[in-house]
Symmetry: C2
Subunit: 649 residues, 2 copies
């Protein structure tokens, strides 16, 4: 939602040969942005839409006025504002920078709508600029490898919702994902052959820059470094040899921060990677050092005494100061997770908070720029509404002036323990679009129902842009049913959600080799069917006589769910991978049956018997226990029906 928008009443039909004029600054980057925009119109409409260069701005249908390119390397201070005016005769985008124009084109693309048998842009006047200068998505390519196509299509989707930072989590216990020419053993021994070549990394950076997106690389240290140590055990605080980690969690292997040779190594390594990543920021992680290798190493203990470092936190602070000094040589500002916050940390460092709003405020109070990630963990499988309500600066009181300590914005985190290239898109999208709006739009834009309505439309748009959050659903169901019809499984899969937070790790021992192609992987983090059902229940109960159409819809849903188990059972029998699914399907039948009974009673104004109500509550409670790592997302709606019927008795 733009900062300011006024709709008119006219509309301008889409031209299959739109004449386009650029007034003022032009560049190949701007040109490519316009080409992409035009190509997208072709895909959307199925017509060959060809760009025509207008002989003068006055004759063009799309007029772009751009003051200048903007920064040669984009920073958080890049101006992204633009104005967009669609009048009945032409469309005008004005911006100070190329990135501003790119944002304007993204908005214009969203405005295209069907009218009759064709497409039109509505008359509109928009003045727009972002609320926060740092609007990011972290992708962990380490726990599970995410190859080039995943990154590139997600950059396209990010650009569509005006995100401007791709944070690549490039090294972890489970994998070192960057080609190093100086230290080839890093990727050769630490990656199972799954890493980005330097050419590919440059392609990612260029692809992102074309879309007004910065790429911030993260090299997590001194912990989370097992994969470095496979090829370079001499960097470790504990004895080797080391192997690529296959499990999830916090592990002991850690750099030895007392050795000068470590800093020489890192200096050389940062020289290499800063030549690839031009962004002024570089992330050094810094999280979850368990300290075991430090505590059990006599030399490190002696060093701490000698240097007057009272505890492990002080030792890590020492490490961070030395790393920050190296990065300063390469003109890079250091970013780290909460744990890097300590006395003596250079004030230009940035703190990324995974712990929460309090530690965010604490960082700013201590004079650091800060980025919020707590509340934006996409792997927690929470609904869009939850993330949407999570404001980096709820009081709106912190400074937003460069040079003062400020909340820069936020970053959603797509941690990779339970995602593959086939499932990652559905874990990021469409929920990420709600976070993008929280970070771009004014805080007053906070109507959840309105957000969900627009999210549905944006979700379809993102699919066209190229991410596969919708496309990959049906194939997973096809594989699960082993060639049997998928309809009954889809009815079930549509109303279950993966367990939340870290609960998946409780149920079985996962390793990086465990297949992720079960129902829990096909199921979406937020069931849109269940969300709408709950909304129908609430609307109906609020005034039953006025909302008979909701009653019919509720009844249709419940009937379908009740009948579905019988349809699904033969499919389950022919596919062993679905054996775990049968009890959930049975639960869905049970709770749908209860829903139908209570709906009948409610409509007939017949109070439920105490015995029946006991049975109903017990059934609902039993169904609330996750099975096969999924939850039934329709329980809140049905519970509401039962509870309200109980109250009305």
């Amino acid at each position: 939602m733009p900062a300011r928008i006024e709709f008119g009443t006219a509309s301008i039909p889409l031209d299959t040969q739109p004449s386009i004029a650029i007034d003022g600054h032009t560049s190949p980057r701007l040109d490519r942005a316009i080409d992409r925009f035009v190509a997208r119109l072709s895909t959307y409409t199925g017509k060959s839409i060809t760009r025509v260069t207008a002989d003068s701005p006055e004759h063009a249908k799309l007029r772009i006025r751009c003051d200048g390119s903007g920064q040669s390397v984009q920073t958080p201070d890049e101006v992204e504002s633009y104005t967009l005016q669609v009048s009945s005769s032409y469309i005008q985008i004005d911006a100070r920078t190329t990135v501003g124009v790119i944002r304007g084109l993204a908005t214009l693309e969203q405005l295209l709508q069907r009218e009759g048998t064709g497409y039109v842009f509505p008359e509109v006047r928009i003045e727009d600029k972002p609320r926060f200068p740092w609007r990011g998505l972290l992708i962990d390519v380490c726990r599970h490898w995410q190859p080039m196509p995943v990154i590139l299509r997600n950059l396209d989707a990010m650009a569509a919702v005006k995100l401007n930072v791709l944070h690549l989590h490039l090294t972890e216990d489970q994998g070192f994902r960057v080609e190093s020419k100086r230290f080839p053993r890093l990727h050769e021994r630490g990656s199972d052959g799954q890493y980005f070549t330097q050419k590919e990394l440059r392609e990612i950076v260029a692809y992102a820059r074309d879309r007004g997106i910065r790429v911030v690389p993260e090299f997590d240290m001194p912990g989370h470094t097992t994969s470095w140590l496979v090829g370079h055990p001499e960097l470790a605080a504990g004895p080797g040899p080391f192997e690529i980690e296959r499990h999830w969690g916090v592990f002991d292997p850690c750099f030895d921060p007392t050795k000068d040779s470590l800093y020489a190594f890192l200096d050389s390594f940062f020289a290499e990677v800063t030549a690839i990543f031009p962004d002024p920021y570089l992330h050094i992680g810094g999280d979850e050092v368990n300290g075991k290798q430090w505590t059990s190493n006599a030399e490190i203990q002696a060093f701490m005494q000698k240097e007057n470092l009272p505890d492990l936190h002080a030792l890590q602070a020492y490490f961070n100061r030395r790393v920050a000094a190296i990065l300063a040589k390469y003109d890079r500002t250091m970013i780290g997770w909460d744990e890097i916050l300590h006395e003596g940390l250079p004030k230009n460092c940035v703190v990324q908070s995974w712990r929460g709003a309090e530690s965010l405020q604490e960082a700013v109070r201590h004079g650091f720029d800060a980025i919020l990630s707590n509340g934006y963990y996409l792997d927690h499988q929470r609904p869009a509404s939850f993330h949407y309500a999570n404001d980096p600066d709820p009081t709106g009181t912190t400074s937003n002036k460069p040079g003062t300590a400020r909340i820069l914005g936020g970053e959603a985190c797509m941690w990779g323990e339970y995602v593959t290239p086939a499932t990652i898109d559905s874990r990021i999208w469409p929920r990420m679009a709600a976070i993008a709006e929280r970070l771009w739009s004014p805080p007053s834009v906070n109507d959840v129902n309105d957000m969900y309505q627009r999210l549905e439309r944006v979700s379809a748009q993102l699919e066209r842009v190229g991410v596969l959050h919708v496309a990959n659903y049906q194939p997973m169901l096809i594989r699960l049913t082993n060639g049997q019809p998928t309809e009954a499984l889809r009815v079930l899969a549509d109303v279950v959600e993966p367990v939340k937070f870290y609960n998946r790790s409780n149920s079985q021992t996962y390793t990086s080799r465990t297949p992720l192609n079960r129902l829990v992987d096909a199921a979406r983090p937020e069931s849109m069917v269940a969300r709408k059902f709950t909304a129908q229940v609430e609307r109906f109960l609020s005034s039953p006589s006025e909302h008979s159409e909701d009653q019919f819809a509720i009844r249709a849903h419940l009937s379908q769910w009740k009948a579905n188990h019988a349809n699904l059972l033969p499919v389950v029998r022919s596919s062993p991978m679905l054996a775990e699914v049968a009890p959930i399907s049975q639960n869905l039948q049970n709770v749908a049956t209860i829903g139908l009974e209570v709906l009948d009673r409610f409509v007939a104004n017949q109070p439920a018997a105490t015995e029946w109500e006991k049975h109903a509550l017990k059934t609902l409670e039993a169904a609330a226990t996750p099975l096969a790592e999924v939850e039934l997302a329709v329980l809140p709606g049905i519970s509401k029906l039962v509870k309200t019927a109980g109250e009305s008795r």
Copy 2:
């Protein structure tokens, strides 16, 4: 279908930690093949299946005996035979080469089946070897660019059905798809930036070799060379400048075969590409030279007189002899399309026939090895049964001895005018599997119904292997409906097929920039729903009283199709891309209505009135005209109903 197979009655359950022993020759390539096999079992079953190395062959569940690696560069004479024995206690694969083991593992993977709540391999004894040594798929990456993922996933699918040649059509009027370090203007100016780097080409070759697949590169010349001439107009027979061709067809630009500088250029170019492609064969195309640039060039005409070359064919023969001599320097055997066949062509050249069985026999009579492609054109959108009946050697009389002129086998062609990375898989698969069987199995394996039954199973397997012929269907429907429900569109799309042969080019002017995302692109070349419907009609009519279940199925189909139009209309109204679809949907309703009426009459033994029959035939005839470039595939079945009812009257 293997050459020889005997099933037993026992079965051996799938082990989640299968112990594997290799007896005899071992190699990293063999090892990777086993790793892929085990990983595929994981994906299929959703369980973590981990390979365990048995301490001795006697204790292993899977025992592999391999005599040697096979050829360092695979040729058509590579031994691919193997025996596979599944007994109740262990599985044994014996082969002379690594490729033989790879073929055996592909068969073993297909044997895995569900039993109860788990998976088993059935007791079986197989002795297997291919009928033809050349079993290929041509992918045209020029008319539309097909990037790395398309190639790699199709190599996986090829290996699953034991194909052994990937023929890459790498240069065309519309694109030069190979990075040349010696002549960088070739790919820089001739490809729109869409080409394989040399590193990528080496990756394709290595990936293919791992799967027992040869990669034969084609550089089409002297015609079909516009993209070469963009950067190197000096090679042309006519005046430049040249631009990358955007249309489809046969074009004038052509090499000038009279210049020595052309051969020096090609010598240098072949030196470069033969270092990338180790295969002993290299394809020079040679097709469709229209000769206009040769006829209108006075110097070329003078050259022909001087050299006593009576016609254009003789001039092309001169060109071919010189190119063959260059290729011989690099130990490469030249392949070309039919047109290269002429007096004086070196006898070790290979002729690939796109024209037909006659020209194939002619080539062999003239002493050349030959490959059949006529009848295997996947872009013609014909049914699997058509290709399955197309035998390269129907009389089985030609020699199969190396060193004598022989029919080497066949190659299916996936020409690229109307395919994108999103649709190419559904144009290749599953029909390609039927061709693969024709080329591998004995000629006596020719039961079409049996083939279709197995094809359905193989299609699901191929999806797991990684091709997207099923997966990409639903997303295309989602985009077409513009976010509306897809069910009604799917009912229609399930029973239409794209127009056949080259009829698509008649209906509108296509260029390489025309979007290919309409109904015709979503529809599959062969409607499996329509095929089954026709079979039901035939079975029912053969003995109506015995096949009442078919009558019910026919009625259910017809009722669904009749009702579908009303369901689809609101969706059509909300998506302009579907406007063209409404008349087809109306036709489906019309013919389904007729089908229901005639079925009622037939069952009630009521003869149809002459007037009604006239109307029925007229309606069917009207519906037979393709609309929006698709055909209604249910017409044969319904026509049969009407016709038989007429006869019975």
